[in-house]
C-alpha cells in the first residue's frame, strides 16, 4: 500500500519509470512484506524526502526509511549523486541503500560500491525473475537484516 508523505515508511523507491515502480511495489505487496512504500521520481525529490526539505519538511520528526531502492539513471540529480549525499551526511549515512538498476556495467557497479552502496541488484526483464529478485531483496532488508535502533 502506498504511503502518504506525512507517514513513516519502510521502503523508499527512487525510480523515474512509473511502470518499474509499480511492478516493484506490486511484487513486494504480493508477499505482504512491507506495508509502507513511498515512490519518488527523481534525484532531487529523493534528497528532499530523505533530508525533509521543501514539500517534505513535515517529515522532520519522522524516522528515516528502513531501506532505499535507488535507480542509477535519474532526472535532475543522478543516482550516484544521491547515494553520495546520503552516505556523506551523518544523519543519513547508516541508512541502507541498494542500487536497483538495469545496468550490469562493471563501471557502474564499482562506482556504486565506492560511494558506499549496501547492495547492487540488476532488474531482470522476465517478470517472474523480476518479482523474485525484488521480493528476496525486500525480505533480506526488512526481515533478515538487523539495523541499529
Amino acid at each position: 500500500m502506498k504511503s502518504r508523505s506525512n507517514e513513516p515508511i519502510d521502503i523508499l523507491i527512487v525510480e523515474d519509470n512509473p511502470q518499474d515502480a509499480e511492478l516493484t511495489t506490486r511484487a513486494l505487496m504480493k508477499k505482504h512484506l512491507a506495508l509502507r512504500i513511498f515512490v519518488v521520481e527523481d534525484g532531487e525529490e529523493a534528497l528532499d524526502f530523505v533530508f525533509s526539505r521543501g514539500k517534505y519538511e513535515i517529515r522532520k520528526a519522522l524516522k528515516l526509511p528502513k531501506i532505499v531502492f535507488l535507480d542509477l539513471k535519474l532526472p535532475k540529480v543522478s543516482g550516484l549523486e544521491v547515494l553520495k549525499e546520503i552516505k556523506t551526511q551523518p544523519k543519513t549515512k547508516s541508512t541502507p541503500v541498494v542500487m536497483v538498476t538495469s545496468s550490469r556495467e562493471e563501471a557502474d557497479i564499482r562506482a556504486a560500491y565506492e560511494f558506499g552502496a549496501n547492495g547492487y541488484v540488476v532488474k531482470p526483464v522476465e517478470f517472474e525473475a523480476f518479482s523474485q529478485t525484488m521480493t528476496q531483496t525486500g525480505i533480506f532488508w526488512l526481515r533478515i537484516n538487523e539495523e541499529p535502533r
Binding site: 518499474d20 538498476t101 538495469s102 526483464v125 522476465e126 517478470f127
Partner: protein, 566 residues
Amino acid sequence: MNLYFAERLKNKSLIPILVIFFIILTIGLYLFFHHQANQIRQNKYAEIRAIAELKSNEIIRWLEERFLDADYFAGSPELKSVIRRVNEGDNVEISDQMDFERVFFRMKRNHRYEDILVTNSAGKILYSFDSRHANPDSSTMAAIFSVLESGKIIMNDFYFSRSYKKNLLDIVAPVDLKDGNIAALVFTIDPSVFLYPQIRFWPTPSKSSETLLIRKDNDSVAYLNPLRHMHNFPLRLKLTVSDLNLTAARAVSGYSGIFSGHDYRGVKVIGDIRPVPGTPWFMVAKIDKREVYGDLRFRLVLLSFTVLLFLLSIAFLVAYLYNRRLNAELERRVDDRTEQLKRINKELESFAYSVSHDLRAPLRAIDGFSAILSKDYTKYLDEEGLRFIAVIRQNAQKMGSLIDDLLSFSRLGRAQMLSTSLSMKDMAGSVFEELYLTGIHHKIDFRLGDLHPARGDADMIRQVWVNLISNAIKFTSRNENAEINIYSRVEDDTLVYCIADNGAGFDMKYYNKLFGVFQRLHSEREFEGTGVGLAIVQQVISRHGGRVWAEGKMNQGATFYFSLPK
C-alpha cells in the same frame, strides 16, 4: 585542406620563385663581374702606362748621360793636345798610348764602356782600349765618317759586332781640334751591362709582364732587347710590320697608347706602346691578358661556387622547413583524429549504457504487465487470449536476451585483457559440466582430450568455451546418440583447439555468415539463439591474436577450431 595547399605551394610556386631568384642572381653576378673586369682593366692600363713612361724616361736619361759623357770628354783639352801631337807624327808611339790611357783612366776602370776609340780627322784609329777594336764594324766606321763630316754628336744604333760577337751601341762625338780639323771620339756600349737589365726590370710582381725595345728595320720589326718568353738573340728576331694585330708592328707604325692585340708568341696581351723621343726606338710595355683576368676568373669561379652553395643550402632549408611543416600538419591531424576516435568511443559507451538501461525498462513493463494480466485476470481471457499473452511475453524475453548478448559483445570489445596461463582442459571440463547440469539435457557422449595449456584472459577464453560448448549441446539436442569431442594440437607456433559434434551441422555455402553478429543459419523453431555467440568467439580470439574457423555438413555435424599463439 592545409595539406592540399601545402602541396600546391610546393608544385606551383616554390620552383618558379627559386628559378626567378636564380636568374636575378645570375644577372647580378654578371653585372658585378663586368664592372670588376672594367675596373681591373682600367687599373692595369694605368699601371702599364706608368711603367712604360717611367722606363721610357729612364732610357732617355741614360742616353742623355752617355751623350754628356761623350761631349765632356770630346771637349777635354788634354785629349785634344794628345790627338794633335799624335796626328803630327806618322806613328802612334807608346808614350802617346800612355797619354790616352791617362785621359780615359777612370772610364776604363769602371767598365762603363766596352771600348773607347779615338780617330784622327781622316778616320784613322789613333787609340783603342781594346786591341780587338783595331778594325771597327762598318756601321761604326760609317758613323765616324758622318761625325767627321757634320761635326755633330750622334748615336750609332744597335748593331751586331762581328769582332765582339754581341750587340753594341756607339756614341760618336766630334773633337774640335781648333785648327779646322775634327777628330772623332767613339764610346762603344754593351747594352747588356745596364740597358737590358733596366728594360727587363718590372716594378710589380708579374708572371708575364715584359718591356720591349723595338726598331723598324725596313719592312720588319726588330726586337732590340732579349725577350722574356723566347730564347733569342737581340736583333735576330724580325717580324713583319704589316701584321697590325702584332703589338710591336702597331708601335712602329706610329700608334701610341694602350693597345690590345697579340705579341711575338701569338699570345693575347694588353700593353702600352710609345716612341722613345730622340731615338729611332719604340717601347712596348705589355702583360698577358690571361694574367690580367686570371685573378678575376678565379674570383668568378669562387663566387659562383659560393652562390651555388648558398642557393643549394636555401633550397635544402626550404625543403626541410616544408617537410617539418608537413609533418607537424600530419601529427596535428593524427591528434585530431585520435581525439575524434576517443569521443566516438565515449559516445559508443554511453550509447551502450543507454541501451542497457533504457531498452530493458519497457521490455520489463511489457513482460511484467502481461504476466499480471495472465495471472490475475485469467477469468476475463479465453485460451487463445492467454496464448497471445504468452507470445508477447516470449518475444519480450527474447528481446531482453538479444540486448544482453549485444551488450556483452560490445563489452568484450572494450574490456581490458588480463593475460594469465590457463589450464584449458580444466576450463573446458567445468564449462561443460556447468552447462550440462543446469537444465534438462539429452544424453551426450562427451570426450575431452588432454588440452594444451594456453595464455589469455581467463574470463574471455571461458566465454569462448561457453559459447562453443553450448552450441555443440544445442545442435546435438535432436540426436539419438550425441557426441561432443574436444581436443587440441600444435601447429607451427600456434595452439589449435577443436570442438567437434555430430549434430545439425551447417551448409558450407553460408560459411561467410557464420561468425557475423545476429547471423543465424537455423530457424528459431529449430534451435533458439540470438546469433551473437560465434561473433563473440571470433572477437575474443582475434583480440588474443588467434584465428577461428569451422567445417560443417548439413545434419552430419560441425567442427569448430580456434588457434592461440603458443
